[in-house]
Symmetry: C2
Subunit: 204 residues, 2 copies
């Protein structure tokens, strides 16, 4: 089976989005700075499934190539889905995207949609995503889902794209963990431009 890996850009003070995030302000106040490194270098990296291309360091591009190349399915929370306004129907990665939610947004339910709305929790979402992904990886995009996976022992790896900014507030990556501690192992450190990629294995 593939690996369940959280991947996202994170500020030095631990936020994946700034304060006051919501539709129209998807990354929260100042949160777009987390993506400054997407335009920090000379090497193009076309983001699979989208029309976007990053211009990043060669080292970052090689890492993303490797990671996105192994991607089989993605899981996000409803908040990220709403904030991104469903990526206009084209979630990054281009594969199946499972959205964990309490209620299904009927306007998004249509044939051929990349989205599956999962209303029976994160374990179900992981099970379904793994089934679709087969030997490929399941990427977790939302901090909230990563937290639930961590608590449920479902998270294998974390790829933190650490950005040298302190946002001062917002959506914390490590939150709602009920004071539990977790050990990780450093798998890989990649120096990009304006970003440090830190890949960890969750020790269980």
């Amino acid at each position: 089976m593939g690996t369940v890996i959280f991947e996202n850009s994170v500020s030095l003070d631990g936020f994946v989005a700034g304060p006051n995030d919501g539709p129209g302000n998807g990354m929260g106040d100042g949160g777009m700075r987390l993506f400054d490194w997407y335009a920090s270098g000379d090497t193009p990296f076309p983001l699979p499934g989208t029309d976007m291309a990053f211009q990043i360091s060669r080292a970052s591009a090689e890492l993303l190539q490797e990671e996105w190349g192994k991607l089989g399915a993605m899981i996000v929370g409803r908040r990220m889905f709403d904030n991104a306004e469903g990526w206009g129907g084209h979630p990054p990665g281009g594969g199946a995207c499972f959205v964990v939610t309490h209620s299904v947004p009927q306007e998004w339910v249509r044939e051929g949609s990349p989205f599956t709305f999962v209303t029976d929790g994160v374990e179900s979402a992981v099970r379904q995503a793994k089934q679709v992904a087969g030997d490929r990886n399941v990427s977790i995009g939302s901090a909230n889902i990563a937290q639930q996976c961590l608590k449920a022992g479902l998270l294998d790896e974390m790829l933190i794209n650490l950005v040298p900014v302190a946002l001062g507030g917002g959506v914390r990556l490590f939150d709602n963990l009920d004071g539990a501690s977790y050990d990780l192992e450093i798998m890989q450190v990649v120096e990009g431009i304006g970003v440090t990629h830190l890949k960890y294995r969750v020790v269980r």
Copy 2:
């Protein structure tokens, strides 16, 4: 003038000590894990001013050698001073140590003491420490002091020894910053064993 640099081990979830820190539990619950990397390698690094020697990776030792070699004075908060029980009179680094406090612990006031107790705030402490340090660096040991320096525009650099553990609570490095954001620049990334050293310049 020398550089004012915060240096400390920090958990992946942003804590410099675990919950319930205090005298007798200086690093808080589970916080000693932040120092696991002190015994992670083969290269000895005798900690200046103390009887302690780390056994760390060569890369870590070279970095610490460089950093501690430039050290001219240290500033800590009263909480760290009390938690460390004054390091038995021998603060790490072996140089002058300025303790920012509201009241002077008279039992620690004696001739030839490495400690200077500063009761008129962090700006005064930095000024005094810089004077003593001359061309050498001033190291900030406490998160609380680093926060005050950051807010006052007195912090030049941060050397974060990022440890792959989530402590789940404790003393946050980035806290009490009144929601302000800060930009940093990556100066250096060093891969140790059980630690990633991340050195940043604070952009002002």
